[in-house]
């Protein structure tokens, strides 16, 4: 526990801090809670304005949940995905293995599971979300605990369980064809498992991409050893056997990974009388109806959306740190323009906004099923309103940036996808190059070289002395040699 919050000790040394620093308690040491602490420490490294205490239920340092499929694939060891410890700052204290059990908004106090409590001036809820299991027989016991062979993929413990359940060469079933399900399936295939993926919607990544893209993506997955079963409902899990579908087929599986959605962890907020719908309801200041209670990340429900992706959560963390440290009290979170990037080795998929924009949008589509590529770009009033880009890695990043910035798109939209802008008229050097530059460093043109040759320079050193060509970066040496060979060959008369 930080000395500055124990009144009996360090009173003299920390007297200033004690009286003026506002106490912020963060519930949740996940990616967004830890990032909030880091953002605060950057703005107030000495803890002069605020003192942050982060409590996290997991008994380990914060880590990067987004990379769990990478752990599964063997790209990372569990310790490789730890987040930087903000505890090094005077502004931040972290208590892992400590769960908050209740909030008393009237007394501004959080009760912890070790029997102690923390008083706060500002409370930040970063409790995240947990896997939601669909009501399919055999998945979970009455108390919600997964049945044998079944696991979610939300934390390192899930990763360890899955690694123990699945063996290389053996079959695994992934239930849920969203982003996490597809990433998990790819990672398991990388590890040599035989993977089946089941999605109850008509196509995979239903929320992010359109049907033609999903078809090409599914074919890509098949080639990588993942059998995709879209628009199939699971009937029940048969431990030791596999997943039975509603048409009676059984997909063999040593393990079942459930990636069929999440549920925000809102119980502690609801218990304190804070307004909760799908998540903890917040406004643009990221405050709940209680102005001293804030929520960020997957547990928060903002009208502009953003839950489920880390980038909006990190943006919220930065905005709230601006506000609560007083760095930028006017900072607002006005909603996400999330860009989804599938992290699957060998597949480059980016999507944003409306995957199926209506007729009011101008849409460009390129479909190349054979090449495994698909691009769709929808524009309204010169702004990107949606894009699906499969196998268009280079333009995807530029398009995502334009979408994120709300920047206008170029007139030539096809060029945006193919990377080949139509020639602009009136551009520098666009005119016909009557006398091309050969040596850029010394601005020597072909005509200049020819004049020097006509004046008697027959060798490269002579040419260099006469024109300086080849003496800069040397990149034109070959061209000069070729020109000389041509001229000397055409006119074998010896130089005077």
């Amino acid at each position: 526990m930080p000395a500055r919050r124990t009144p009996r000790r360090g009173r003299h040394r920390h007297a200033m801090v004690q009286h003026t620093a506002r106490r912020i308690v963060v519930i949740g040491n996940g990616m967004v809670g830890a990032r909030f602490a880091e953002e605060v420490a950057r703005r107030d490294p000495a803890g002069e304005r605020v003192g942050v205490t982060v409590v996290g239920a997991e008994d380990e340092a914060a880590y990067n949940r987004v990379l769990l499929p990478g752990v599964l694939a063997g790209r990372y060891a569990p310790d490789d995905i730890r987040l930087p410890a903000p505890a090094e700052s005077a502004a931040v204290a972290v208590r892992t293995g400590t769960a908050a059990t209740a909030i008393d908004p009237a007394r501004r106090r959080v009760t912890l599971d070790d029997g102690t409590g923390l008083d706060y001036d500002e409370l930040v809820l970063a409790t995240g979300a947990r896997a939601a299991f669909p009501p399919i027989p055999g998945l979970a016991a009455a108390d919600g605990a997964p049945e044998p062979g079944v696991t979610a993929l939300r934390d390192l413990a899930d990763c360890r369980r899955l690694s123990a359940l699945a063996r290389p060469g053996g079959p695994v079933v992934v239930l849920g064809g969203g982003v996490l399900g597809l990433e998990a399936a790819r990672a398991l295939a990388e590890r040599g498992m035989r993977v089946s993926l089941v999605e109850s919607s008509p196509w995979i990544m239903r929320r992010q991409i359109d049907r033609p893209a999903a078809q090409i993506l599914a074919e890509q997955y098949s080639r990588l050893g993942v059998a995709v079963h879209s628009w199939r409902v699971a009937a029940r899990w048969l431990p030791g056997t596999g997943l039975e579908l509603d048409d009676g087929r059984v997909l063999p599986g040593d393990a079942l990974v459930v990636t069929a959605g999440v549920k925000a962890n809102t119980e502690i907020a609801a218990g304190a009388g804070i307004d909760v719908e799908h998540g903890i309801v917040v406004d643009d200041t990221l405050a709940t109806a209680d102005p001293r209670v804030h929520a960020v990340g997957d547990c928060a429900q903002h009208p502009g959306g953003g839950a489920g992706l880390v980038q909006p959560g990190w943006e919220q963390a930065a905005v709230l740190a601006d506000r609560l440290t007083g760095t930028r009290p006017e900072a607002r979170y006005t909603g996400a323009r999330p860009v989804t990037r599938l992290k699957a080795e060998g597949i480059e998929l980016t999507s944003m906004g409306e995957a199926e924009a209506d007729d009011t949008a101008e849409t460009v589509t390129i479909a190349d099923a054979h090449g495994g590529r698909y691009a769709k770009l929808s524009v309204r009033q010169e702004r990107i309103v949606g894009a699906v880009l499969l196998g268009f890695a280079d333009p995807a990043s530029a398009i995502a940036r334009m979408y994120d910035d709300g920047a206008p798109v170029p007139a030539d939209r096809l060029a945006l996808l193919t990377g080949r802008p139509a020639p602009e008229t009136g551009e520098t050097g666009a005119g016909p190059a009557t006398d091309p530059l050969v040596c850029r460093c010394n601005a020597v043109t072909r005509g200049g070289l020819e004049t020097a040759w006509l004046d008697g320079a027959r060798t490269r050193p002579d040419i260099a002395a006469a024109t300086r060509a080849t003496t800069g970066c040397g990149g034109c040496t070959r061209d000069v040699d070729a020109l000389l060979a041509g001229w000397n060959g055409a006119s074998p008369v010896a130089a005077p």
């Binding site: 990372y76 490789d80 410890a85 990043s397 802008p421 551009e427």
Partner: protein, 710 residues
């Protein structure tokens, strides 16, 4: 007459012969040398032209009223005037009322003597130099990683044998063309927001161009480290045996998986993975950084992030691979070693280190307590001029801060507020034009001395001809003032070789040890790379047996990414980034006065994406006003389809209304105190041509594209 010497401009210090050209005027031609391999760029070819320029100042100029013009005077009058004013201001306001501003263009001897002059003759702590704007971030990062910073800790020709070279924020094809001769073999990975000439060469040679959004370089470096580790490509044995601190550094990189790196930098995740694989699997690889990495409010951390990548791949301290900083200014390396930096004494010693103070004080024959402590860094020094807490007089050598400092309009206001501004120069630079006293000094080919190039190689600069009558060397000016300020004459020798010998003693035992450097060894053609501790020593390759920290281990720096000091918004929706052109050097005070160079690039321009041009209402060839929160620069529009739509580029070689630094942001790096030249939020407006454009420009149009007669 044909004398072998080195080019006056950049840190490559190409070897050249200077000899009588047609009509008897001196002319330069390239000479064979390991660095330039017989090459020379157009700046080098034309460098001798300024020696005979009609714009040369050849008599001291003095004025007592800045609204009036200068009057030519004699040296005694000028030096007496300056010394008298300095003494008066110092007596009235304390020694720190006088500041000194030096340069990475000065020889080692001048850098050394200038530092000594400030500390002893003036007793001021306020001395710094324009190298703070160039190499200080890499110096800080290199020092913290390796224990000692030498730009390239290996000879430049080493890189030619590598399979892959990553160039971060460096554009040598434009800024030091002959260096490209060493880079024609390796595949290049060029990191630059611009589609630069070097990026072009990388792509032509089967390499990569990674174009991060300006200000996101650390995220890209962290992302490459992440991608290398995720592909199991790190050199774990090297990390264990030769470094410390990897785990903490990795935690920051862990947050930059390739897709996240793409989100922040705009570089496609696939390219991040590809670049990491290319670099990590190469037989022989180098990571080289330039100003594009450094000139940020987070430049030190940015360079550290690149060094972390190099360390994680096991590159530094091994023959055939490594990390290096491509130094910019002619003596950028030597200039940062010998005591013209606010926090330094000769030999790369810290001015707050009692042992360093004792050593140098003994060489100087003074009590260590007489030496002032550390002073403010360059921009802070400039920004305080004429204020209650700042200096009231300043002496400037080899620098043109009225054009080259960030937020140059503000700096010009500060310069105007001085009681006394004294500028040593050979042409009427923008800063000289603001001065009370201008002292005409000799040029590179008119005096002797040593320079230390980008490899830490000490070079002999030779006198080819005598300076014009009435012109003195910088060493003579320093000595003349020192004596008039009451110093014994023998303390300030005017002979460069005598100064070098003293510099050798002062630097002995320091990081940059020149004790064994002598004119005789240099004249005999020995290759001297510092440290040169004694008459037999030279160190072409550093760190082969261990790094310069006490435990011999290199340090990973735990650095993350943070945004630029200023991000675009509705009012200033674009980013301006600044840099150099092939035909000009630094503030352009020299190159704008050379007919051929000025003729090719006579005026400031701004590179704009055609779509951005349409939206800003500017067309090819229009004049545009590039406006930031700090000021505006006028530049002619050049539309480039390969430019980033969110970024414009401004070369910084032009003065007055066309000075790019009128818009740049003086947000400083917390460690190196380097300003953020590379990221300014701006908007573009269509503008009328600059007023000054109506007047004839120095040299412009006097000659066509010149060709030296053979």
């Amino acid at each position: 007459m044909s004398t072998a010497t080195h080019c006056p401009y950049c840190a490559l210090q190409c070897a050249m012969h200077v000899e009588a050209g047609p009509g008897g005027a001196p002319a330069a031609r390239p000479a064979p040398f390991p660095t330039n391999r017989g090459g020379l760029c157009r700046k080098g070819w034309t460098s001798a032209e300024l020696l005979n320029s009609p714009e040369r100042i050849v008599r001291p100029l003095l004025r007592t009223d800045r609204s009036g013009g200068f009057a030519a005077t004699d040296w005694d009058t000028a030096l007496e005037h300056v010394a008298g004013r300095l003494k008066g201001l110092s007596a009235e306001h304390g020694a720190d009322a006088v500041a000194v501003f030096g340069s990475g263009g000065l020889t080692n001897e001048k850098s050394y003597l200038l530092g000594k002059f400030a500390r002893l003759a003036l007793g001021t702590s306020r001395i710094d130099y324009n190298g703070r704007f160039c190499m200080s971030s890499a110096a800080a990062a290199g020092g913290r990683a390796f224990g000692l910073d030498r730009g390239l800790p290996f000879p430049l020709p080493d890189v030619a044998s590598a399979e892959v070279v990553l160039l971060a924020g460096a554009n040598p094809a434009e800024t030091m063309p002959p260096m490209m001769g060493h880079l024609s073999g390796p595949r290049l990975i060029v990191v630059d927001p611009r589609h630069s000439a070097t990026a072009e060469q990388a792509l032509a040679g089967g390499g990569l161009h990674l174009a991060p959004r300006p200000g996101t370089d650390p995220a890209l470096a962290l992302g490459l480290l992440h991608a290398a580790r995720a592909q199991h490509l790190l050199d774990e044995d090297y990390i264990a045996a030769r470094t410390t601190g990897f785990d903490q550094a990795w935690k920051h990189a862990a947050a930059f998986w390739p897709e996240q790196t793409e989100q922040v930098t705009g570089v496609p995740a696939q390219r991040v993975r590809e670049a990491a694989r290319l670099l990590a699997t190469a037989r022989g690889a180098y990571v080289l950084t330039g100003r594009g990495s450094e000139q940020h409010a987070k430049g030190t951390d940015t360079v550290s992030a690149w060094i972390n990548l190099a360390l994680a791949l096991g590159l530094p301290g091994r023959e055939g691979s490594g990390y290096g900083c491509i130094t910019g200014q002619g003596n950028g390396q030597g200039g940062r070693e010998h005591g013209q930096k606010a926090d330094q004494l000769p030999g790369y010693r810290r001015i707050d280190d009692p042992a360093a103070r004792a050593h140098v004080a003994e060489v100087w024959g003074v009590d260590p307590d007489e030496l002032p402590g550390p002073g403010p860094s360059a921009f802070e020094l400039l920004d305080a001029l004429g204020t209650a807490s700042g200096a009231r007089a300043m002496l400037v050598l080899g620098s043109n801060p009225a054009v080259s400092a960030p937020d140059a309009g503000r700096v010009r206001n500060r310069l105007s507020a001085l009681d006394l501004l004294v500028v040593c120069d050979f042409v009427m630079s923008e800063t000289a034009a603001m001065a009370d006293v201008v002292l005409p000094v000799a040029q590179w080919a008119e005096e002797r001395g040593t320079m230390t190039n980008l490899e830490g190689r000490v070079l002999r600069r030779r006198a080819v001809l005598a300076p014009p009558p009435g012109v003195r060397t910088d060493l003579e000016v320093i000595a003349g003032l020192a004596v008039r300020l009451g110093q014994p004459a023998e303390r300030f020798p005017t002979d460069a070789d005598a100064v070098l010998a003293e510099l050798g003693r002062a630097s002995a035992g320091g990081g940059a040890d020149y004790a064994g450097v002598s004119p005789e060894r240099l004249e005999a053609g020995e290759e001297l790379f510092w440290p040169v501790a004694d008459a037999g020593a030279s160190t072409p390759r550093m760190f082969l047996d261990g790094f310069a920290h006490p435990d011999g281990l290199a340090r990973f720096a735990p650095v993350g990414h943070r945004p630029a000091a200023e991000e675009p918004d509705a009012e200033f929706p674009l980013i301006a980034t600044t840099g150099r052109l092939m035909g000009h050097y630094q503030s352009g005070a020299q190159t704008r006065r050379i007919g051929e160079l000025a003729g090719a690039e006579p005026e400031a321009y701004v590179e704009v994406h055609p779509d951005t041009g349409v939206r800003s209402g500017v067309a090819e060839g229009d004049w545009a006003r590039v406006v930031s929160r700090r000021g505006a620069a006028l530049a002619r529009v050049r539309l480039r389809a390969d430019a980033r739509p969110d970024t414009v580029f401004l070369p910084f070689h032009f003065g007055g209304e066309e000075a790019a630094n009128n818009v740049t942001n003086p947000a400083l790096d917390p460690v190196s105190r380097m300003p953020e030249f590379k990221v300014s939020a701006i908007r573009l407006e269509r503008a009328d041509p600059p007023q000054e454009a109506a007047a004839p420009r120095a040299g412009a149009g006097q000659r066509g594209p010149a060709r030296p007669a053979g």
